[in-house]
Subunit: 279 residues, 2 copies
């Protein structure tokens, strides 16, 4: 019998489902963990969300997401810190250790990427003590370079590890999301490094579909539908010592238009065929 | 008076112009160099193309492009080598030293990016002796990672330099194209390295426009219209010792729909304002 013990549904994959529906869907499908987005949690109400996940017997693999740390003005920076502190407390209530950070892009009109990256490092240093006190790990997620300007100036795993380096590995980790990093010529060595440094906080799987969708945010695909070699990347992640949850996070209009139960069925099949043998 | 001595028009920027029209346009605008694409050269006829550029007193900054070296089968590999040898001879006739290579993506149905990259290295080794005998430098162009699967498995300057490393710097160089590399967290150090290793064969400028165009090939923009910091990157390229031509290569439907003479005028203005002060 296939072992789905490490499989987790990121709630963005079944975008039309409320959190309660996603939890019920996971239970029905025998998926033991969920990675909720904050908007779905807020919609359900934080305490109620925590209770319904717990009562269903699911694990929370991560919370998506804090970040957007690149504001250049004091007001924007204070707002970002307040929002991230709120996210840290939400992660505590939801009983997960891992809070994803999408670090943000250039400030409006800004072109100085070097300065913007420095602000990410500064805000991270501001946040780490509060996260640490609350037992939450801030998970730096490198995003594909096509999102560098407007979503995340952290584009490679090596860069995320460099940003994480000043901090304890229990406080700042990194995510390996196949969609974002599959192309990276340094991927093998940086996954090895992430393992050595005990920083792999999440392994997220989905495919990179071609052609790239007109809305470039929606080019993520079901495993097997795109160009990614899950056997190779999965082996690197396993050999780096990662034994945690494997989250499936897909933004894709066609998948969003499909019945959630069907999506979970396909997801289990593809996980069993393409991901699990190398996990 | 503004010094346009290093400015070159890549013929793709004025896509609707024939090579003869582009040459005339450059002469009218006082642009001293041109980087033709091979299809425009073929259309004019190779010898005629060489003569019309020479008679107009223009320099050929580079020839675009050879490459597509990732075929997995013997027949495809032989065809790729034959095409690249032809391109080398075309570069000789056109009196340029620099032949751009866009290395190609995964073979049809292939997912093993590691193996595909190895084939790029193998085909490069096959080609270098012929290029060297003919006095042509093969210019590895890292392309933005969004093109990794289908156009170029070489995605960073560092990776291009690693690929070039086994060969003499007179035989294999690298291109710095702002559109493709602006996001790279290692850009400064890799431009410095490229300079130290005498491998910078071309500096191409254009902007990275947002939102990304629905056809992702057409997101290149006129300098100043997007997110790129030409001052910083230009300074790094200058400090690395590059003194060659600066080519403007833009794939952009709106620019293609604009009268070529107007485009050249805008290009000169933006070059003078954003690029030249740091060149």
């Amino acid at each position: 019998m296939t072992d789905f013990a490490r499989l987790s549904l990121n709630s963005a994959t079944t975008k039309k489902w409320t959190l309660a529906e996603a939890v019920e869907g996971c239970v029905r499908a025998g998926i033991p963990a969920i990675g909720p987005w904050r908007d779905r949690v807020a919609e359900a109400g934080l305490d109620k969300a925590a209770k319904l996940i717990k009562d269903a017997g699911l694990r929370v693999s991560s919370l998506c997401r804090g970040g957007f740390l690149t504001a250049a003005d004091a007001e924007g920076q204070a707002a970002a810190l307040a929002d991230n502190r709120a996210a840290i407390l939400e992660a505590v209530t939801l009983d997960t250790r891992e809070l994803f950070l999408v670090v943000g892009g250039l400030a409006p009109g800004e072109k100085d990427i070097v300065a913007a990256r420095r602000r990410v490092a500064d805000r991270l240093a501001d946040l780490v003590p509060f996260a640490s006190e609350n037992g939450i790990r801030l998970v730096l997620e490198p995003l594909h370079p096509m999102y560098a300007a407007d979503r995340a100036l952290v584009s490679t795993l090596g860069q995320a590890l460099d940003l994480a380096a000043p901090f304890d590995a229990r406080d700042v980790g990194v995510a390996v999301d196949t969609f974002h990093v599959w192309w990276d010529p340094q991927l093998k060595e940086q996954i090895e490094r992430a393992g050595r440094e005990y920083r792999i906080a999440s392994y997220q799987v989905c495919d990179f579909n071609l052609p790239i969708a007109a809305d470039v945010l929606l080019s993520r695909g079901m495993m097997g539908d795109g160009v990614i070699d899950f056997a190779t990347i999965g082996t690197w992640v396993r050999d780096a010592g990662y034994t945690g949850d494997i989250e499936v996070e897909i933004f894709n209009q066609e998948i969003w238009d499909t019945d959630g139960n069907v999506v979970l069925g396909t997801m289990k099949e593809r996980y069993a065929e393409l991901v699990l043998p190398f996990a």
